[in-house]
Structures are given as C-alpha cells and as structure tokens.
C-alpha cells in the first residue's frame, strides 16, 4: 500500500520522507518557474527582434507582441520585402531562475547608480533596524498589557473593547498622520509598525495567558502563593512558551507592515531598493530583493525556534538516549532520611 504510506489520514511520516517533502515544497515551484523560463514553447508571448528587416518601427533589441510580429512578417512576405527576424522570449518582468540567482550576489556587489543612494546591504540593514525598533517598542508595552489583560478581568474589560475596535483600523491609514506628527524620516515608519503590531499583540497574548490551566494557579494558591507572586511565578512561566510562539508569529506580521511603512515619508530600506530597481527595469534584482525578505524572515524564525528549545528545556521531548530511572518499585520505607522522619513525627502521635 504505497499510497497509504504517503497519504494515510493523520499518519506520521518517517523522517526521511518528511525531509524529502520539505525539499520538494521548494523544488516544485522552482521547477515550474524553470519550465516556463527555459522551455521555449511554453508561454513566451513576446518576440525579441534581432533584425528589423523592412518593418520600419522595429529595431534590434526590441520586444514586441507575438501577434504583432506574426502580422508584420506576413505583411512583409506578401509585399516581397525583407522579413524581420527574432526569437520568442518571456516578458522582462519574468526573468529566468539563473538570472535571479545571479542577482542575489550581483545586487550586493553592484554600486548604486547615484553616489548618495544606499548599497543593498545598507538598505537591508535599514529595514531590519526599522522592524526591530517597531517590534521592540510594540512589545515593550504590548506584552505586559497582554499579560495583565489575560490575568485580570479588570484590565481585560477596561482595555480590550477599545483595542478590538482599533485593530480594525488599517495601519497604513495613519501614514499621513504619522508623517505630520513625526516628520519624514524613520520615526513615522516605526510608528506604523507599532500601530500594526501592538493591538494584535495585546489581544493575542491576552488570549494565550487566559489559556493557562486554572488548576495550576489553584495549586500554587494552596502552596501559599499570593497576588503578584502568582503572576510572576505561575501565570508567566506557565504561558511563556506560548507567548514566545506568539511573538514569532507577530514578528512575521511586523514584516508585512514594513513595506507599507517604508513608503511613508521618504522611501527607504528594501522598499526603496525594490522601487529603484523596478524603475531601472532590473527585475532580476527586484525578485532577489523580495526573495531576501523571505529568507531573512524564515531564517530568523528558525533561529528563534532553535533558541526556544534552549530557553525552555521542559518543552523538549524526552530524548531517546536519556533514561528516566524506573522508581515505581522502590519501597518507600528504606528511602526515608532519618532526619526528616525524626523531625516530622512527634512521638506521642506516632501511629500504632
């Protein structure tokens, strides 16, 4: 049953198959792209002119629509004039994979056209700085407020209805306001990211904190925990791993606000680079830059996930190598420390 091995309902796949599928998830779209780019009879709607022949408005190096080229060729043939020559190509905005791959390197090594324009690495650095500032400021307020809302009904009822309303207001709508208030440089961009992230953050984290098992809090209460101790020592550690996961997802959302934020005021960062390159019609660079955002996002997420397993050892699965001693069979009596039993047992009350 080969099919059932691969497609069994909720059936766990062996590690090698999982890896294979993970690689395929990238390879398949790439293969489709390569197919459209390199197989000449697939799509290729334009004709790249190599010789204008008798058609006066054509020139070598020009791309014309396939139908126009066919019509002109037919017309020239009828009139017995020199035929135009050319080969079929895809439009400029769909560069083939190898060009984009090359652009991943050349985009970094090519100096900017104007002396005051940033290099690509500077643009990327600018973008990452903007994101980190926005996310840090949002988290500085959003995480504590989320925890408060998740822990105390008082704060939840006082804050959440307004936040619920505010999060429906699209962050880009505040662009003009932010520029008016904060100027045209980085502050309004950071503000857009904060507006886009903060309100979601409060609600998501409040929900996560609300999911803490109330039995854990009750257990802590019977052990003598009170007030703030319960928040610090129980509620936060009980939800910290889920908050961490939330933060990873929210960081992804922050990236989606980045592009909007960067067109506010003076265009900057990776958006500036992409726009510039599109204007020069270097679409391979445009794709490379977009790809870099994806790579940075994915890499940072993988790094954070890996960091998480280090930070939260109790979330690690039991490693197969680590053996937990089986102690079900150990009788209790001989294990007792005489000091303990002497201290705890008052002779007069010893059991008969």
């Amino acid at each position: 049953m080969v099919l059932r091995d691969w497609l069994g309902l909720r059936h766990e796949l062996p590690r090698r198959r999982r890896l294979l599928l993970m690689v395929m998830s990238f390879v398949l779209p790439l293969a489709l792209w390569a197919l459209v780019s390199y197989v000449p009879w697939l799509w290729h709607p334009l004709v790249h002119i190599t010789n204008a022949g008798s058609v006066d408005y054509l020139a070598p190096g020009m791309d014309v629509d396939g139908a126009v080229f066919a019509r002109e060729t037919a017309a020239a043939q009828k009139a017995g004039l020199a035929l135009p020559e050319g080969y079929r190509v895809n439009p400029l905005y769909l560069p083939p994979p190898h060009k984009v791959a090359r652009a991943f390197v050349t985009a970094f090594t090519t100096p900017p056209r104007l002396p005051n324009e940033p290099w690509l690495h500077q643009s990327l650095g600018h973008s990452i700085r903007t994101i980190l500032w926005g996310f840090a400021i949002s988290s500085l307020f959003g995480v504590p407020l989320g925890i408060l809302c998740g822990t105390y009904r008082f704060f939840a009822k006082l804050q959440e209805p307004f936040i619920e309303f505010f999060r429906y207001l699209p962050a880009p709508a505040f662009g003009a306001l932010c520029v008016a208030i904060l100027g045209i440089d980085d502050p309004p961009k950071i503000a857009i990211i904060v507006i886009g992230t903060f309100f979601q953050q409060v609600l998501v984290i409040a929900n996560t904190v609300r999911k803490v098992d109330p039995a854990l809090i009750e257990a802590a209460q019977t052990l003598g925990g009170k007030g703030w101790q319960l928040v610090w020592r129980v509620v936060i550690p009980a939800s910290i791993t889920d908050i961490y996961t939330d933060m990873r997802i929210l960081l992804g959302w922050a990236w989606t606000y980045l592009i909007v934020a960067e067109v506010v005021g003076t265009m900057s960062g990776i958006t500036f680079f992409i726009n510039q390159q599109a204007r020069y019609r270097n679409f391979d660079n445009v794709y490379a830059a977009i790809g870099m955002i994806g790579i940075i996002g994915l890499t940072s997420d993988i790094l954070l996930a890996w960091l998480g397993t280090g930070l939260f050892p109790w979330k690690r699965r039991v490693r197969s190598g680590k053996k937990i001693p089986v102690v079900e069979a150990i009788p209790i009596a001989p294990a007792v420390d005489p000091a303990v039993s002497a201290a705890k047992t008052v002779t007069g009350n010893a059991k008969s």
Binding site: L216, T222, R233, P237, F312, I324, P325, V327, I332, K344
Partner: protein, 300 residues
C-alpha cells in the same frame, strides 16, 4: 439466586484493638472543624443546594475519607476547606482559626497532577517553601529530603512530563507535604491512575502518612480505596448533598492487601455499597430484549 451469600459480621463490631484506637483518636485535639456548612449556587431554575448541614470533626493524625456518588458535593466541600471556593453558610476552623482563603496550613493534592511543567521535580517541591520565604539553599535540601521520602530522589532533576502518572502524583504529595500542613486535602488523587498503579499509590500513601505528622482528608468514589485507607468514612448522599452516615472502619491497622478479603473489610464495603447505590431495582436495570443471536448460541 443460586449462590449463598457470605455470613458477614455487623460492621459496627470492632475488635478491642480497633476500639482502643478510635478511643485514642477521639482524645486527640480537633484539627479541622466543619460546622453546619452549606453551599448553594444560582442556576437558571433558581437557587440550587450543593450540600447542607455538613458538620465534621477531624482529629489530629486521623485519616478521614469522604465517599459519595457524583453530585453529592464532596469535591466542592474539599475545595471550600482548601479556601478555593466560598461557603454559603457555616464555618470552617483549622486549629480553631477560621478559614478565609487558601493557606499553607492546608496542603492539597488534586486529581489532575497540577505539577508546574516548567519546574523540575525538585523545583516543584521547592515551590511552597519559596512562597513561605525560605532561602533557596534551605529549600533545596528540604525538597530533596521530601523526594527521598516518597522514593523519588533519583528523578529530582527530571521535568514532570518525563514521569509516569504515579510518579507525578507522588511528587504532588511531596510538594504539598513540604509545607508541613496541618491537614492534607486529597481530592480523588488516584482517580486518573490505572488500577495497578492506584493500588501501589494507596500503599505508598499509608506509608507516608505513618512517617509524617499530618492529618488526611481524602475524597474518593472508590469503595475499596475508602475501606483500605480510612479510619473513619463519611458517606455523603446527593440531591441535596448531605452526610448520610459516618462509619468507623473496623479493619485493623496496619493494613495489608490481604485484608481486602477479611470479613471486616467485606462487611464494611457491603455497607458502603448499600448506602451509596441503595437497593438495586433489577427490573429497572434491564435493557429491552432484542435478540440478535443464533439459536444454541446464547449465554446465560
């Protein structure tokens, strides 16, 4: 009926040893006094009584079981004693002081394990000590001793998810005892365990109770468990929740598994069964007769 029922003694009969034990227990001071406790809660149909007229005296070092059908309010009762819930009337005194909320004088072991997953086994046991303001070194060595006592010294640095259910519950017991509570409240603590583990845990609990100066209030719906563990058994009834009878357990101590077939044990279990399940109406329990078997294939 084609079998001869066993001739069992009256469950009130106590051997001189057992009678003497109960006399000694009664002479000890009362640790937990519950008087006239009452709990109601509002529903759509108006005020519903969870239980009422519940009065109990638990003496020092006594092991008291509360048993009853579901809905008799036994869990609500123990939660109120723990301070996790509020009574609608009546009073609870621990060593003469009224209870107004959770406190370290009452330790609690829940049915769910409720260990803190982010803390190692030892750190779990240290929790109450830290709350009590003990410094970490002190708490550390004390926690280690308590873990030794429940036989889990070897896993002190494991995380709860690495332990079996029985081990987790032993950690929970050690954690509750580390605060040296006056009374240990146990709310169906072995209810989630499989039968074999439960049996072991009951024997562990008796051994621990012997060594530690603590009084135990134990909730269960398992007749064997109550007969095996308790000094006195409080039987509760439902609708509304109330105390039906308080029975002094005639099974002598120290208890062993062999006693599960002793006349005292069986007569006590029989009485509890009567009180909790009542007379069984054989007609009512019959399912409608629909035959799906072949002729000659029947079972009796």
């Amino acid at each position: 009926m084609s079998y001869t029922p066993l001739k069992l003694p009256d469950y009130h009969e106590q051997s001189p040893d057992v009678a003497d034990r109960f006399r000694r227990i009664r002479e000890r001071p009362v640790v937990l006094k519950v008087s006239d406790l009452r709990k109601t809660f509002g529903t759509e149909e108006g005020l519903q009584v969870a239980f009422e007229n519940v009065s109990l005296d638990i003496h020092r070092r006594e092991f008291l079981c509360i048993i009853g059908p579901s809905g008799c309010g036994k869990s609500t009762l123990i939660r109120i004693v723990a301070g996790l819930d509020h009574a609608s009337g009546g009073e609870i005194l621990v060593d003469g002081h009224p209870v107004s909320g959770p406190g370290q004088d009452r330790g609690m072991v829940f049915q769910g394990y409720t260990l803190f997953p982010w803390r190692t086994v030892k750190e779990n046991v240290m929790f109450g000590l830290e709350m009590g303001g003990k410094d970490v070194d002190h708490a550390d060595s004390e926690a280690r001793q308590w873990l030794e006592m429940v036989g889990l010294g070897k896993v002190e640095n494991s995380y709860p998810h690495e332990l079996s259910g029985g081990m987790k519950q032993r950690v929970a017991i050690a954690r509750a005892l580390a605060n040296e509570p006056r009374i240990l409240l146990m709310d169906e603590p072995f209810g989630a365990l499989d039968a074999l583990t439960r049996c072991k845990m009951q024997s562990y609990l008796l051994q621990i109770w012997k060594k530690v100066n603590v009084t135990i209030l134990f909730i269960t719906h398992d007749l064997d468990e109550a007969c095996y563990l308790a000094d006195r058994i409080v039987v509760m009834g439902a609708n509304p929740g109330r105390i039906v009878e308080v029975i002094e357990n005639p099974v002598p101590r120290p208890r062993t598994v062999a006693q599960l077939l002793s006349p005292e044990f069986l007569t006590l279990k029989h009485r509890l069964d009567e009180l909790i399940h009542g007379p069984v109406d054989a007609e009512e329990e019959k399912l409608p007769v629909i035959k799906l078997t072949e002729a000659g294939d029947e079972v009796e």
